[in-house]
Every structure is written in C-alpha cells, then in structure tokens.
C-alpha cells in the first residue's frame, strides 16, 4: 500500500468477508449522505492483525426524507436496526447525536455504528479524510493522524493503543507528528 497523493492511499490487498460486508453497506449509505469511517476498521483495512464486531461511521446530518429513503433501502437489502424498528425513533436518535447500529437481518455482529458528526472535532474529520482505493472500490477513512491521536490519547484501551502503534509503524515516513500533537491538544480540551 502507498500514498499516491496527499489524500489517497492505493491498497492492493485481497478483499476479505469483512471488507465485502463494509463495502456493501457503504455502497448504500453513500447514495444518501456523506460519511467517514473511523476507529477499528481503519486499522484493520490497513492490515492490522485483528478483527472487529462493529464498524464506526460518522455521517452528515440527514433530512427526514433522506433518512427514510436510506432506511427503506437498507430494509430492502436485508439489514435491520438493532436499536429500534420505528423509523421515526431511529431518526430521532441520530438527530440527538446518538449512535445507532445496523446489521444484516437476524444477526447482531458484525454491525455498523453510525453517528451524525455533531461535535466540531467529529465534523472536521470530513475535511482531511483519506480516500483508500481498493479492489472493491474507494472508501473514505479518517486521517491517520486523527486516528492515532484519538486512539492513543482519548480511547486509550490496550486495543486502541495497539491500533495506533500499527498505523504509526506502517506509515512512519508519511505521518505528520505535529498534526498528532495538535489533535492531542484539541482532544484534551474537549474532555
């Protein structure tokens, strides 16, 4: 894998079942709103030797109408929401900034945890997101520096520290340390 420009990584890996699961969902989501994938799946997409039960995604604010269309398309494609079957209730959760989870019908894992980006830091993750070009298509992920700062200085679990370490080692020639420090400071102010 390599950066082919400042914002794009070209990845020539063989797709796995999790990648296919993610791309199937993203291909529906992107028709209705903009998104950026954050947290564990970013490290996994970039080669980390672990798996995950949920894929975290920030989305832009939906109109009610746009959300209804998105939800109906999910139902048609055999997804369900783990939080509620009531479309109005799901929309209200998202509008309040709460995360909601979608999985394939009659399953719970793996699932997608989607959340409307409401905080400034979350909204900013759209501005410097990266495009990853894979055999399954392109996908948007949070910047590497944001991922490292968020995992190393905010989430801080063993798993998150390991994810940060993986990205740091993998892209040690490309990562901007000053950006990580900047996000670290912003995260400490937001806590």
């Amino acid at each position: 894998m390599k950066f082919i420009n400042r914002n794009t990584i070209k990845l020539d890996k063989e797709a796995n079942d999790l990648d296919e699961f993610v791309f199937d969902f993203i291909n529906i989501l992107k028709k209705h709103t903009d998104y950026v994938i954050v947290s564990g799946y970013v490290a996994i997409l970039l080669g980390r030797s672990r798996t995950t039960e949920d894929i975290d995604i920030f989305i832009h604010e939906f109109s009610k109408d746009a959300f209804n269309k998105f939800y109906n398309e999910l139902l048609k494609n055999d997804y369900w929401c783990l939080n509620s079957e009531d479309v109005n209730e799901i929309f209200d959760y998202l509008s309040e900034g709460l995360p909601v989870r979608f999985a394939l019908i009659n399953t719970t894992i793996p699932n997608f945890e989607i959340k409307v980006a409401k905080k400034i830091l979350d909204k900013e993750s759209f501005k410097d997101r990266l495009t990853v070009i894979t055999k399954l298509g392109k996908i948007y992920i949070s910047s590497l520096e944001r991922q490292i700062a968020f995992k190393r200085y905010y989430l801080k679990s063993d798993k998150d520290i390991e994810d940060a370490k993986h990205i740091e080692e993998l892209f040690k020639d490309d990562i901007d340390i000053r950006k990580i420090d900047k996000y670290k400071q912003l995260l400490s102010k937001s806590q």
Binding site: M1, L11, D12, K13, E14, N16, D17, L18, F21, I44, L46, G47, R48, S49, R50, T51, E53, W80, L82, N83, R101, T107, T108, I109, P110, N111, D158, I161, E162, K165, H166, I167, E168, E169, L170
Partner: protein, 65 residues
Amino acid sequence: MKKLTPSKDRKQDRLNFVEYWANYVRTHPDKEWSRQQNILINSMMKNAKNSKLTPKQYLKIKGEL
C-alpha cells in the same frame, strides 16, 4: 526484517508483535499479508453467523440499553 522481540510483560509482548506485524505489512506486497490477515477475519465472520445474540442482549452487553 527485524526479528520479533519476546517480552515477559504481556502488554509489551503484544506491542512488540504489533510492531513486528506492521513492519511485515510495510515491507511485503499487499497480496501477501492480506492472505494471512484474511484467514483470521474470514474465520471471525463465519463464527459471527453462529451468534445467537438478540439485539436486546447485544445492546445490553455493550451498555447501550
């Protein structure tokens, strides 16, 4: 490639492996490391299909109910 350094400390030992694996990914073709990674991930995806957790049970475990 640098050899994997063992450690008596479990946490450090894991971090050493993360560093070792990241170096492997960095220095080997995507197709090569992804074939190995996919064994782990596809196995999890297969097991996930056998999970009998209901949404309510799952959300309770996650502390979201």
